[in-house]
């Protein structure tokens, strides 16, 4: 009998459960219905635009939230109800999210660009028509009558899609590379808080840090790196290579893309106008620096190194200045921000030293574009103009996330004083010649890693040997690039001839005709530069073949 009672009460329990589940389901239905209609039930006259990106760094979202608030207030004063929704997706999942919403047909209105130039051309509104006019939100500033594109540090060169000769994105920030230093640790290990100026000084300090670590029995890492994606290694090699070879910039005509122009360097090399030692010295320097990386650095990613830095176990961390705010904020000790040491006078390779590469003319990145499928183009464009106006861009960047603003004549206060672009004694950075194809570049970085781990004596020689062995594959990769460039050129050529015909047959107003002409010129320029690139690539292939033969393989 008692068992039946238990059964009954259990059934009653279950029934209550089912009823509750049913109620919960109904509530969920209502909420979802309201959400799905996009809030149109509640605020029918409101225009909503979506602003999407992957920057989860400290201060970025907050800065834009403030900018959004001001934009909405400004619009309200004009009598328009506008709502801007900021959406963030983590960096890891971003490329896929980006592509699926573009294909899906309902993309966000202002979206951070990702993916290939072909995708930009296919899905995004060409902005060249709009960047030639002044930014209306710059009224009352020194840039009131300056065309929008010229208010940026690089005149929007960084936003130019070279393959298609068109601007698809507006950049919002700039960045340089610095070394973050744990000053307290430095003092404990060397007795002084002075940051090293030259390479030799740097290496000496690193040695002292290593000894200090062994003395106190704690794992002290002299130089922390971002090893997993090879970014730190990449930049250090680039930087030291440029310190010794930036004079080669004079040989470059600047007519082709940097990667394509590598042919000139090889040409000089093959013609014996340039010593191989000068090119490979960088590999040796990297090896010397690499001795102070942590063990297993090839697997360490940015998060882990930052974690160790905040815990006080890392002396130096070379990273971009987009991390400056979070590095300073999360460290319980004083953090110094210094430029990466130059070779200086007291190193074995001082004879090759040409000068510290200059940071003037730095590029503007973080491009945001407006998809063609957006239903609120003018509002989205206004939002972009608003957030890149002289005042607001500085507010977001300098006040909130402590990044370098994209606009000219910005005020660099606080941390930004250490991050701002410096005038160096050398020329601009130059692309190492092993960079002609991405696959080869990865392989060369891996070779550098192996050289570091094995502490090879003849770093330069081994590096060169790996390069010569890689040449056949590199030639294949460059040929693939040529094929892809040719395909792109064909599609641009169609656009060019369409515009040419349109210009002949239709009767346009003056302004539209001017726009068409501008477009035509941009396309023509991009066709010509693509053609030049292909010529450069072919030259590179010929030279690479000669090199391989010369080395007797």
């Amino acid at each position: 009998m008692s068992k039946n009672n238990i059964d009954d009460s259990k059934n009653w329990f279950q029934n209550i459960g089912l009823i509750l589940a049913g109620l919960f389901y109904l509530v969920a239905c209502v909420i979802v219905f309201v959400n799905n209609s996009g809030g149109k039930l509640l605020a029918p006259s409101q225009k909503t635009i979506t602003f999407a990106h992957w920057n989860l760094e400290d201060g970025f979202r907050e800065g834009y939230a403030e900018a959004i608030q001001r934009f909405e207030d400004y619009k309200a004063k004009q009598g328009q109800k506008v709502k801007v929704i900021q959406t963030t997706v983590p960096f890891r999942g971003y490329p896929q999210w980006f592509l699926t919403q573009l294909i899906g047909g309902t993309p966000a209105d202002v979206i951070k660009l990702s993916g290939s130039s072909e995708q930009h051309n296919q899905y995004f509104v060409p902005l060249s028509a709009y960047i030639g006019k002044p930014n209306p939100f710059n009224r009352g500033t020194p840039f009131e009558s300056v065309p929008w594109k010229d208010t940026f540090l690089d005149n929007m060169n960084g936003g130019l899609n070279a393959d298609y000769g068109e601007y698809y994105g507006i950049g919002i920030n700039s960045a340089t590379y610095r070394v973050y230093v744990n000053l307290d640790l430095l003092e404990k290990a060397t007795g002084s808080r002075k940051m090293p100026d030259t390479l030799t000084e740097w290496l000496t300090v690193c040695e002292k840090l290593k000894e200090y670590g062994e003395k106190i029995g704690k794992p002290i890492i002299p130089i922390g790196v971002r090893g997993f994606d090879k970014r730190t290694l990449n930049y250090l090699f680039y930087y030291y290579f440029s310190q010794m070879n930036s004079d080669l910039n004079e040989d470059m005509s600047g007519n082709c893309s940097p990667r394509a122009e590598n042919a000139k360097i090889f040409e000089a090399l093959a013609g014996n106008r340039l010593s191989r030692e000068k090119i490979l010295a960088a590999a040796d320097i990297i090896k010397q620096i690499g001795q102070y990386f942590c063990k297993g650095f090839t697997a360490t990613d940015q998060e882990q190194t930052k974690f160790l830095f905040f815990a006080g176990n890392v002396g130096f961390f070379p990273e971009g200045t987009w991390n400056a705010y979070s590095m300073v904020k999360n460290s319980p000790f004083e953090v110094g921000i210094a430029e990466i040491p130059v070779i200086g006078d007291d190193h074995e390779y001082s004879k090759y030293f040409v000068g510290r590469p200059t940071e003037q003319g730095l590029g503007v990145g973080g491009l945001f574009g407006i998809p063609k499928a957006s239903k609120n183009f003018s509002m989205a464009l206004e939002f972009l103009q608003f957030t890149t106006s002289w005042k607001i861009n500085q507010m977001i960047m300098a006040d909130y996330c402590k990044w370098l603003p994209a606009v000219k004549k910005a005020e660099y206060k606080g941390i930004l004083k250490y991050c701002q672009p410096q005038l160096g004694s050398g020329q601009r950075m130059i692309c190492p010649p092993f960079y002609a194809s991405i696959g080869t570049w990865r392989k060369m970085l891996e070779s550098l890693e192996t050289i570091i781990i094995n502490n090879e004596n003849e770093a330069g020689k081994i590096f060169w040997r790996d390069f010569i062995e890689r040449i056949p594959l590199e030639i294949e990769e460059i040929e693939d690039t040529i094929t892809a460039t040719r395909r792109t050129m064909l599609s641009i050529e169609k656009q060019r001839s369409a515009i040419a015909v349109a210009g002949l047959v239709t009767d346009l107003q003056a302004e539209a005709e001017k726009r068409l002409e501008n477009r035509y010129e941009l396309i023509l320029e991009s066709l010509i530069s693509s053609y030049r690139n292909m010529a450069c690539y072919r030259e590179t292939i010929t030279i690479l073949r000669k090199l391989r033969k010369k080395e007797g393989k």
Binding site: G115, P219, F228, G296, A299, T300, D301
Partner: protein, 300 residues
């Protein structure tokens, strides 16, 4: 028995077909149409939207040359073999649970086995991902506390090429999350008591009972689970995605074919290539299921 309707009486009973119309239409549109569409697009260079260019066997040629893809199949085979071993513990747990004398304890144990099934699998994966964290993670801390790891060393479970695949295989220990345990248990509970008594009279030890009575009787469930496991493991890429992201770990070494499809199609935009790999996966699944049924039949 069911009502048998021959083709002569069809004109009176044709409305019965309407019953199956709804599921059929749904399945045709949302399952079969994509299958056929996917097959056709193997021969196209397709970016998911406007570019649809017939390119013949290019995608198939790319599949042949893609060493990453073949390595991915290798990784999946490792996972299948590992999952075979992973099936042992649930069987053992079910048998042990079946032999628990205390009834109330047995009931409590049964309930406790259902909890891991109910907690979202994602939470378990993410918790194991946390375990593998090099700095803050629990696994490294345990090793450090046990003295196996110096305080200066960190083991990169998920970012070093050698360790990432074993880490993926080991995650989720002891692998009783699926509802395998309860199904085996239910099968075991159907064994009549007389057989046990007969075995005891014969003086059979626990092990012999297991081998000769219990194992054959739950064999049907094991076989079904085996087939499901193989089909499931070949396609499964969600666990790799959760642990190491779409790149598939250091140098993409832990990629599985499903992950390659996802990456090539939805991140890089090579939809045609994705379809080609998908079709290849289907062929492999077909082959394995065929082999499996043949093997199992001969065993009988």
């Amino acid at each position: 028995m069911a009502v048998i309707i021959s083709s002569r009486k069809l004109k009176y009973y044709w409305s019965v077909y309407l019953l199956v119309a709804i599921p059929l239409v749904l399945v045709l549109i949302f399952n079969y149409y994509p299958i056929v569409n996917g097959f056709i697009h193997i021969f196209y260079r397709w970016d998911g939207d406007m570019v649809e260019e017939f390119c013949g066997l290019d995608n198939l040629r790319k599949v042949m040359h893609d060493t990453g893809l073949w390595r991915a199949f290798g990784v999946v085979s490792i996972f299948i073999v590992a999952n075979l071993f992973k099936m042992v513990i649930p069987i053992m747990a079910a048998v042990v649970l079946h032999h628990i004398i205390n009834e109330r304890a047995a009931y409590a144990y049964r309930v406790m086995f259902v909890v891991p099934m109910v907690v979202p699998a994602m939470v378990f994966y993410l918790m194991w991902k946390y375990f593998y964290e090099p700095n803050a993670g629990v696994l490294n801390e345990i090793l450090r506390a046990a003295g196996l790891l110096k305080s200066t060393e960190i083991i990169q479970w998920l970012s070093s090429e050698a360790l990432v695949i074993p880490s993926l295989v080991f995650a989720g220990f002891p692998w009783v999350g699926a509802f395998g345990v309860l199904i085996y248990l239910a099968g075991l509970q159907n064994i009549p008591d007389e057989i046990y008594e007969a075995a005891e009279i014969d003086g059979a030890g626990a092990f012999r009972i297991f081998r000769q009575i219990e194992l054959p009787l739950i064999m049907t469930q094991v076989r079904i689970n085996l087939v499901l496991m193989i089909i499931g493991t070949i396609q499964q890429w969600q666990n790799v995605y959760l642990f190491v992201g779409e790149s598939g770990g250091p140098n993409g070494i832990a990629s599985v074919p499903g992950l390659v499809v996802f990456r090539e199609a939805f991140s890089r935009g090579y939809f045609g290539y994705g379809c080609a790999i998908g079709f290849l996966l289907f062929l492999v699944t077909l082959l394995l299921t065929f082999i499996n049924t043949k093997l199992v039949r001969t065993k009988k």
